[in-house]
Symmetry: D5
Subunit: 130 residues, 10 copies
């Protein structure tokens, strides 16, 4: 289950300037919800649970007081590994969790998911204005 | 024959945010109209009907109350397989059917068709404004 | 259902030389067998039948007395459009049909199929020796 | 000599919507004017006339009442094959002929010509505003 | 934990011919062994266990009496998702399990793993001779 | 009509060494035979004659006493521009004409033709052994 | 030494339309100034003069009364071959010379130079507004 | 330790024009701070200090009175080689040092760093407005 | 100075099979020898020592009794960071050190170095036979 | 005029091993012979002499007692800049000069020249056997 409490921050080394940080995470994976019900599948056999989903998650933001710490972001994204969640919810939740933790001046999350059933999906959500 | 009734939706998990969903379907195929007359060719021998057309259909939208369900979209696009239809009409019809079903805040359909007679065609139709 | 009788040939314009002809057909499509039973699905509703498969079929050969006529090859490959057939059988059958029709000195058929269930398949079958 | 009378049209299937059609023709060829004099070289020996030019012609437009028929466009572009014409004139003439025939809401013609004398040329001409 | 019993086969449709089947699985994932001890981590919190590894697994073989069934291969590869295993052992084990199940005339497994610590690894193991 | 008499040669500057020359001509064009009858179409209206074919012609050889002069090769290939000829014959004829003119120790001609009817063709013919 | 007097023009065939011409010259070469002193090195041994520089020069403009003649542009750019000149000055000088000769409505010159000392440089200068 | 005093300039050869200079340095390397403490590691064994970071640094600017001298920029970037510094600080510091030295009308520094822990980072900082 | 004692190994998990391991290290860096004298530059100011070299080091081998441990290989390659060494010697030394440590059945080291003075170098050294 | 005396060597650091060195020089330029007469054009105006030729020269060899020194190779290749020479002769001469200077166990020179008159040429010459 996604664990927002894993996210850590450090002080923005140059808060007087509007600059942009883009982090691309090509190894995002979660599970497709089983029977359409989202939830934690970590204590279920994968083979009885939902099929794995894979994607590239790209997070771009203009920091304000703090920046997200890279290692904690990695651990936070790992916490989706055994979680059953729809694409649309995953992208919006990552944006919500990061906005709550980092309070950026602007942030965008793009989830570029692998083809399923012959259809490829890209979800883009943004918070704040530049 | 295209069957718009196949399209299904699910509630938008984050209606308070204007976010974008892009679905790319690289396996769209229909038939070129025989003698310029469009229609359902499913009960005709393909060899007497029109030649197959192939293309990549890319649908991008900002959802409002509902999102299109991916599996139903796949079935809807499959229903063009034995239909004789011109490029221009196919793209506009897919946009009309999806707008009727999903009522998005904004939607764009791009049909990128394979070369025919040495000419490649891309048709782009949009509904709503961003 | 595949119709080998559609294949036509023309006399090899240079039979005294071992030369190679390679034809790439990027628009091959058939249907995945429904319930594991292969057969002709042209009188079935697609939506009740098997899911569409797509691939690139590449045929390479050294002609002997005749060459395969391009337009007839196109029609022959179209005849798989509403046929339910496994990848392995499709490639071997195309090789068998072409060998029966063209009697080449050597021939290879490669079927490079789109990803299904996260797995991409390429089947390669050869007849004769170079 | 270019023959604008070859261009045919069909009624726009969706005139109520501003949508875009892009046609890419990668096999455009004409002749470089001999001695700087443009004209029809069809009754001249190629070897005494100008050298062949090759390019990719991309036509993008928003249709109004009619669309250009693809096969007639192909024949029209073929009619440049034995014509001696400069790059700049060819692109502007294709735009003029298509605007006269189709009367689009907006149209752009891009001629992307192969390298000659170590220099590659791209000519872009537009009619109307979007 | 890898479950070889999930692998299923179907009769080779053309056993009289030596032909090749290549299956590429770009979504292989397992866990890096924690403290160098390999084993099943499915009942452990991922965050306490090893870091995820990702790779592309390519299996190429010449079938003898049977072919591997695609869906069962997918499930078998999924069973590595929560398993802690080294690259070298994973590739050799997949080869051993498939050889035991399919008894091919020849088989090769290539594991192309994502960069770790600035180093990218590709492991190639083969059974039988062509 | 192809004019082999246009081909000119110059003495090989290093006949004591077996070295290789490869010339790639990406602007080859001829006409598809009208009604299956090959011949010279220069005095016919293109629009009544066959459709244009386009391809990349690659000539590789080990020279013996002479090398082919580049400009004369260009003119020779231009002489196919208004000729109606099948792919297979064009490649074999270019090889025959060049072998007659240059008498190389070894020569290969590859004609890589643009897609027609959804099928791409590559013809490879060789003379001599390396 | 650069010779602006080599540039020739011809009348714009369509002065009533604002259209764009882009010419890419991938074979630009000059010399790095020796000891920081720019000048003509044509009578110096190259090995005592500056090291060669290489780059791609792209010129884009909207013609007014005249267009630049392609062959004269080629000769003009060749005249930099034995000239010692800095990147920044070369790009601005080419723009100045072309503006003086062609008087375009708008013009941009981009010099994309090969890596020197591990650093790649691109200089972009523009005259007029679109 | 970064040494801004290494940066040298030369007079802008065309100060009357707003033109752009882009310099791409694909060989930037520094060290990851050890224990989160930034500083000079040149007298430490690398193996006890932080791990190396690698990236592409792209500097784009509109010069005012002076341009940055290329060789001095190379030496300045080399001075980061044994420095322990975070990505965010490195990009902002390079921008600060260059602005102090060159006083450009506008400048942007983009640091595109290699993947670490499965996450790729790109930092973009800008000074002035265009 | 390169420190071969950093290399560690682990037992080959499948010694009964000849399989191949390829490790690509795109972040190799060393220093160009100052005044042609190779040696350790770690206590010298970089700006007085040789210029940095960069390259991609690819190591391929068939293990016998042991495999090289990835993290120790990374540390070993880092130990070249402040060492002044020629390309040819670096590649041969890495091969010698690895052969001494791992005693593989076969090993190849390829050093693909970045362009210096407009010339790119690739050095390939092999030990043993396959 | 090419100056073979510029080539310098250094002792092979590992003469006991057959290893390969490949040097790619993407900035080779010479002049096309004027009126078919080869020679030194350095005291002629370029505009009266032959047109510039450009190409990529790739030299691969197995060293015996000595290796070619990179900087001297660069100067040697620069000495072709104002020389009028045919492609075939340039490649064979570079091979002859290097073999005379380095006496390698095996050497290959590949000259990959830019398109001229719509035809691209690649010349490959080899000395010795591997």
């Amino acid at each position: 289950m996604p664990r927002a409490e894993l996210l850590e921050t450090f002080p923005n080394p140059h808060p007087g300037r509007n600059y942009e940080i883009e982090m691309t995470c090509p190894e995002f994976t979660s599970l497709c919800p089983l029977g359409g019900i989202e939830g934690d599948a970590s204590d279920l056999s994968l083979l009885k649970g939902g099929a794995p989903d894979f994607g590239v998650m790209t997070i771009t933001y203009v920091p304000d007081k703090v920046c997200v710490e890279l290692k904690s972001l990695k651990l936070y994204l790992w916490s989706y590994r055994n979680d059953e969640i729809f694409y649309e919810r995953a992208v919006n939740r990552i944006l919500d969790d990061l906005v709550a933790s980092v309070a950026p001046r602007w942030m965008r999350v793009v989830g570029d998911f692998n083809t399923r059933g012959g259809i490829k999906s890209v979800i883009t959500a943004t918070a704040g204005t530049r």
